[in-house]
């Protein structure tokens, strides 16, 4: 009996290391192992394979309720506001989504509401040109809300299907920049009832525990309705998504797995758990 117990301990420790190094966070990992431990009690064998598969099931159980693909047919134009901290992949993800919906025959518009960063407008315009998607823009330094206002007026008038608003990266701790986002959100709602229909938060798979702070503060400020995680084609596993799924009820829409337009996948709990546990 003691031999079996020692094996369990080693298995648990190995799982702890695997999950912590996958950025799940020590608190969430401990919670998860406790959850699995209670389901294993009273069970017969406790070999490493069984423990591992129980852990995977527990992860799938946490992630599955967050599987909710983005439906853009419930409003026209369906307005998506893309937000997140600096450099996570907002602009690139917008290009990928635009390309996906265009291929489905939808009429898409990009809004260059990052009027702050050097060449941010040019970057989105370059994607628009490449994909054959129109980009509404103003001059560098323009008020982002004004760009959104004009874009939505145009999109409404022409009854486009999807409008995707690109915003400047910003740290969630900067209240004045969060206020700017709130203003964009308000202005969008004034031009069109219910807009933005999706507030999509972009997270970077290489980010550690700070993703929790990012999600919480962006959610507090705007009400995040969907999340997407980029750069899962690297070695980072994005385990923080489990902590986020457990603590927040926000749907996880997509995962980004590369820099090309095809590298966007709909989030699937089981597939994600498979990669996480390796």
């Amino acid at each position: 009996l003691s031999g079996k117990a020692r094996l369990d301990f080693q298995t648990i420790e190995e799982l702890e290391e695997l999950l912590i190094t996958a950025d799940m966070g020590v608190g969430t990992v401990q919670r998860l192992i406790q959850k699995v431990d209670s389901t294993l009690r009273g069970g017969s064998g406790q070999g490493p394979d069984l423990i591992r598969s129980r852990v995977k099931e527990a992860i799938v159980e946490i992630l599955q309720p967050r599987e909710a693909p983005l439906e853009v047919d419930r409003a026209r134009p369906f307005v998506i506001m893309v937000i997140g901290v600096n450099g996570v992949g907002k602009t690139t993800t917008i290009a990928k989504m635009g390309w996906m919906w265009k291929r489905e025959g939808k009429r898409v518009m990009f809004v260059a509401a990052d009027t702050f960063r050097a060449a941010a407008i040019e970057q989105l315009v370059a994607w628009g040109d490449r994909l054959g998607i129109e980009v509404v823009r103003q001059q560098h330094g323009a008020d982002p809300s004004a760009v959104v206002f004009d874009a939505l007026q145009a999109a409404k008038a022409r009854s486009l299907d999807v409008v995707i608003v690109d915003t400047a990266g910003r740290l969630h701790t900067k209240t004045n920049l969060m206020d700017e986002l709130k203003k964009i959100q308000r202005v969008a709602g004034r031009v069109q009832e219910g807009a933005p229909h999706e507030v999509l938060l972009i997270l970077d798979a290489t980010t550690g525990q700070n993703a929790l702070s990012q999600a919480k503060l962006f959610h507090q400020a705007l009400g995040v309705t969907g999340m997407a995680m980029t750069k899962l084609d690297g070695t980072a596993k994005g385990g923080i998504l489990v902590a986020l799924a457990w603590e927040l009820g926000i749907p996880i829409r997509f995962v980004g797995v590369g820099e090309q337009m095809e590298a966007l996948q709909v989030f699937r709990a089981r597939e994600f758990a498979d990669v996480l546990l390796g």
């Binding site: 992949g89 490449r130 525990q209 700070n210």
Partner: protein
């Protein structure tokens, strides 16, 4: 925070007579949790706790009237010692001295290139920048705009010129212009992308930069070890620049990177504006990581 947790823990233990090794182990568990929550790598935390255990079990803690504070002091000191040298000057010898910026996608290389140009010019150097990212849409335009903002010359690549050629030709361009320092901005890439990592190695061999600086986002999690190790093995980086420290990320990646590469953190990015570049302070970083 950790200080409060340790104080509460020792207060509770104090009521039970003298402190024991087991008590200290409990306190070290709190330290371990704090470091993991701060994104320090699992293995780096393990080694670190081992290395402070001896001091933590020493008389200065066990006999102290404030053992919580004393233990924290021991941990803090050890962190500061590991995170390094503090002020370390960049190698700017040569004409021009090339500084190569490398790192993952979105870590802040292009912005940091411009900040570095401003920083060095303030120190009296004539500086130029080289846009060696030919992949990302409007990347060259981004560096050119930053150059115009700062009135710093930016090499103009030819249509379809590849990064190695850009890096080599810009050396002559710099010499013709009499520039003392040249900052090479490279495309973001994954450390597991062999062809792109090989491209960096080729640039390094062709240019012989005085510095190969790995630009890392302060919010990077456990992956920091893999990233740093791969870049270091391939390129022998000379230093690290940690960006986005103006956020609330604890920055444990700093300790992980230092532990696996032994390279110094030379500068830190603390904002989006071009003056937001500072010298790295190990003691401030230690306090930030401990939380």
């Amino acid at each position: 925070n950790l200080s409060e947790k340790l104080q509460a823990l020792f207060k509770r233990l104090r009521g039970h007579g003298t402190l024991t090794e087991a008590n200290i182990q409990e306190a070290l568990r709190e330290v371990r949790l704090a470091l993991l929550e701060a994104d320090v790598h699992y293995k780096v935390v393990k080694e670190f706790i081992e290395s402070v255990k001896e001091k933590a079990l020493g008389q200065e803690v066990l006999q102290s009237l404030t053992p919580g504070q004393q233990l924290l002091k021991v941990v803090h000191q050890e962190l500061v010692r590991l995170m390094g040298e503090g002020e370390r000057r960049l190698n700017l010898s040569g004409s021009p001295a090339s500084l190569m910026l490398v790192g993952l996608q979105g870590s802040g290389k292009t912005t940091t290139a411009a900040k570095l140009a401003k920083w060095l010019r303030a120190q009296g150097k004539t500086v130029g920048m080289v846009p060696a990212d030919v992949y990302r849409p409007a990347a060259i335009e981004q560096l050119e705009q930053l150059g115009r903002m700062l009135n710093v010359p930016v090499y103009k690549p030819a249509q379809g010129e590849d990064p190695v050629s850009i890096s080599v030709k810009s050396q002559n361009w710099a010499r013709e212009k009499g520039l003392q320092v040249l900052i090479l901005d490279t495309a973001g890439r994954l450390h597991i992308d062999e062809p792109l990592m090989e491209e960096l190695r080729k640039i390094k061999v062709a240019v012989a930069p005085k510095e190969v600086l790995l630009v890392v986002d302060a919010m990077t999690g456990q992956d920091a070890v893999q990233i740093a190790q791969s870049f270091n093995e391939k390129l022998q980086i000379t230093g690290v620049i940690l960006t986005k420290l103006d956020g609330d990320a604890r920055g444990g990646a700093a300790l992980s990177i230092r532990a696996v590469t032994l390279r110094p953190i030379v500068l830190v990015g603390v904002g989006e504006k071009l003056d937001a570049l500072e010298v790295f302070y190990p003691d401030r970083m230690a306090s930030r990581i401990l939380g």
